[in-house]
C-alpha cells in the first residue's frame, strides 16, 4: 500500500490536513491515511486549521462541510484567498445539493459521508496528481464562439452559458493544459474517473461526444474538440489551429 499511489512529483510523502469537528473521525482518517504512507495533520475547527497553516502548508486539505463556528465553505474560501491549496470536501450531504454545489466551486473534489476509504484515497491521489496543471482562474478564450471558465464549471458557447459537470470540466482542464496536443484516452480516463473502477475508454468517448454537443457550435464539424482516432483527443484554440484553417490568410 506504500507504493506511492500519489504518483510522481512527490519526493516526500504528501502532507494532508484533515479538518473535522468529530474527534473520532479525525483519529480514524488520520490513522487510515498514515497507514498508506501519507503524512497527516488534524484540526478540530476552522480557526485551528488556519493556525496550522501558518506553521507550514499541506499538499492537500480534507474539510468537513458542517462545523461549528466556521463552516467548511467559509474556511475553504478563506484558504483559497491565500493560496491555491487543493481541497477535498467531506460532507454528509451528497453532491447535487445547492450548498454542496457552492462548495464544489471552491473545492477540487467532494466526498460523501460515510466515505468508503478506498474511494476517498483514489480521489486524494487524483487531486494530488493534477497539482502539476493549475486550474486557470481566468477565462480561457478558445475563439469567438467558445470561452471556458473551468473554475466556475462554465463554458460560453456563442454567447450562451452552459454548465459543465465536474467530470467534463476535469477533462477540458486536462486538454487545455496541453493545448493543441493530443491527450490519450487513457490519460483522460484517469483524470475523469480515477475513483470509478468500472470505467473504460467508452466513458471517455461518450463523454467527449456529449461535451461536443455542449461546447461546439456545429458538433458534426467540431472547431475545438478534435478526435485523434485510436489515440485520444486534443483541444484547439483559434491561435493553435494550423494557418490553413483560417480561410486563406496563409501565404
Amino acid at each position: 500500500m506504500l507504493s506511492g499511489g500519489w504518483g510522481s512529483g512527490f519526493d516526500a510523502p504528501p502532507r494532508i490536513l484533515i479538518v473535522d469537528d468529530d474527534p473520532n473521525l479525525l483519529v480514524l482518517l488520520a490513522d487510515q491515511l498514515r497507514e498508506d504512507g501519507y503524512e497527516t495533520m488534524t484540526a478540530r475547527d476552522g480557526d485551528e486549521a488556519l493556525s496550522r497553516l501558518r506553521s507550514g502548508w499541506p499538499d492537500l486539505l480534507i474539510i468537513d462541510m458542517m462545523m461549528p463556528r466556521m463552516d467548511g465553505l467559509t474556511l475553504a474560501r478563506e484558504i483559497k484567498g491565500h493560496a491555491d491549496l487543493p481541497i477535498i470536501v467531506l460532507s454528509a450531504v451528497d453532491a447535487g445539493d445547492s450548498k454542496a454545489d457552492l462548495l464544489e466551486e471552491v473545492a477540487e473534489d467532494y466526498v460523501t459521508k460515510p466515505y468508503h476509504y478506498p474511494e476517498l484515497r483514489a480521489r486524494i491521489n487524483r487531486v494530488l496528481r493534477r497539482l502539476g496543471d493549475k486550474v486557470p482562474r481566468q477565462s480561457l478564450v478558445l475563439g469567438p464562439s467558445l470561452v471556458l471558465d473551468l473554475h466556475r464549471r462554465e463554458a460560453t458557447v456563442d454567447g450562451r452559458v452552459v454548465q459543465l459537470t465536474p467530470t467534463e470540466s476535469r477533462l477540458l482542464y486536462a486538454l487545455a493544459a496541453n493545448m493543441g496536443q493530443t491527450v490519450t484516452t487513457e490519460t483522460l480516463l484517469a483524470r475523469g474517473w480515477a475513483d470509478t473502477e468500472d470505467a473504460d475508454p467508452s466513458y471517455v468517448w461518450v463523454t467527449m461526444r456529449r461535451l461536443r454537443q455542449k461546447v461546439e457550435v456545429d458538433p458534426n464539424r467540431p472547431a475545438h474538440l478534435m478526435t485523434v482516432r485510436g489515440v485520444g483527443y486534443r483541444l484547439l484554440s483559434e491561435a493553435s489551429r494550423p494557418p490553413a484553417d483560417e480561410g486563406g490568410s496563409a501565404a
Binding site: N24, A92, P114, S202, W205, V206
Partner: protein
Amino acid sequence: MSGAEPPEPQRLGMPWSFRSRLTVALVAAAVLPLAGFGILVLVTDIATSSGTTDTVGRLLLFAIAVAALFGILVAYVLAADVTAPLRAIAAAVNRVGAGDLSTPIHVSGEDELARLAESHNRLAADLERRNRELGRILAAIESASPRDGVEYLAGRAATDAKAAFGMIDAQVHLTDPESVPEEERVPGDPRPVRALLRAGGEELGVIAGHLPATRAWERADQDLLELFASEIAVAIRNAQLFTRVEAQNAQLLELDAAKDDFLRGVSHNLQTPLTSIRAYAEQLIDARPDRRLGIIAEQADRLSRMVRQLLTVTRLESGALKPRSEVVALAPRVRRAWEALATEGVAFELDDGSAGWLAVADADQLDQVLWALLDNAVKYGGGRIDVAVEVDRPASRLRLTVGDAGEGVSEADRGRLFQRFVRGERRRPDEGSGLGLYVSRELCRAMGGDLVLEPARPGRGAAFSIVLPGEPAEES
C-alpha cells in the same frame, strides 16, 4: 380651457327664422297645385269656346305637367333650405361620434335649431374637457405599479387629480374617511370636492381638494372623480397586497433555507457517527476477519442509506436536488450495488445486453435507486433476483429490469405502489420506510428517465424497470 384658437365656426341659416321658412314651404306646396288647377280650368274654358276639343285636350295635359313640375321644384328648393341646418347638426353629431369635439356649429337666429346647435356645442365642449381629464386620469392610472409603494402612489394620485381636474389643491388621506370632515360649500369660495377611495368593498381613504369657485361641477364631473378615486384605490390596494406578499415570500424563503439547513444538520449528525462505526468496523475486519464486524459495517451502511433517502425526498420536493448527467455502465454498477448489500442466501443473475451502451445518469443517485430495488427484491423476491440490461436503440434508451421469484404485486397494490409511505398489503408494517419506490421513481424522472412496474407475469414474481437515456459506446 381649450387653450388653442377656436376653429372657424360653421355658418348656416338665413335671415328668416326656421318657422317662417317652413310656413312658406308648406304654403307653396299647398297653393301651387291649386293655382295650376285654376289655370287649367281657365285654359279649358277658352279652348272649348273658340277651338277644337283636340287642342283643348293637349293644352290641358301641358298645363297639368307645367303646374306639377313647378310645384315639385319650389318644394325641393324650400325643403333644401329647411333641412340644411338639420343636416349640419346631424353631421356635427356624427363628428362628435367620431371623436371631433372641437368644431362647434353656429346657427344664427333665435329659433329652435339655433338653440339645438348651441346646446350641442356646450355638450361637445363638456365632453372634450372630460375627455382630456379622463385621458390624464387613465395615463396616471396606467403608470401606477404595485411595486411603487403605497406612500408614493397616494402622493402621485393627489398630484394627478389636481392636474386632471384643474383643482387648486388635492390630498389623498389613507385613513378612515369619517375622520376627514366634509366641508360646506360657501358661494364665492373655492368649491370643495371629495371622493372615497374604495376597493373590493373596503374604504381605504378619501381624496379631497378644492376647485376654483367659477368652475362648474356637475354629476358627470363627480362621477369622473369617483372613477379616478376607485381606480387609485385599486392601485393602492394592489401595492398593499404586493408588499404583504413580498414579505411573506421572503419569510417563506427564509423558512425554506432554515429547513434545508436543519435537514443538512440532521443528516450530518446521523452520518458522522455512522461514518466512525463503519470505518472502525472495516479497520477491524482488515486486522482480523470476523462475520460480526461485517454485519456492523453493513448495518451502518443500511442506516446511512435510509437517512439519505429521507433527505433525498425533501430535497427532490423542494427542487434543491439536481442530478448530474454523467456516463455510467449499468451492469457493473448494479453488480457493485448488489455486493454493497452483502446479502446471503439469494440467487443473483445478471444478464448484460447493453452491447457496451452507457447510461446517462447521476451515479450516486442511481445507486440509491438500485439499492431500493434490490432491497425490495431481497425482501419479497422469494430468494431469487434476475437483473437484465437491454438497449432500445431507436429510442436511445437503456432498460434495467429487476425481476424476482416472489408472489408479485397484488392487483390492489399496483396502482398505489409508487405513492409515498405506501407498503404492499402483504407486507409487514415494520419493514422499510415506504419511501423507496417513491424516491426511486422521482429520482429516475429527475434524471430524464422513469421507473415502471412491469405487467404481471403468471408464475413469476414482480419486475421493476428503470429506463434511462443511453449512448452507444463508439469513439467519436
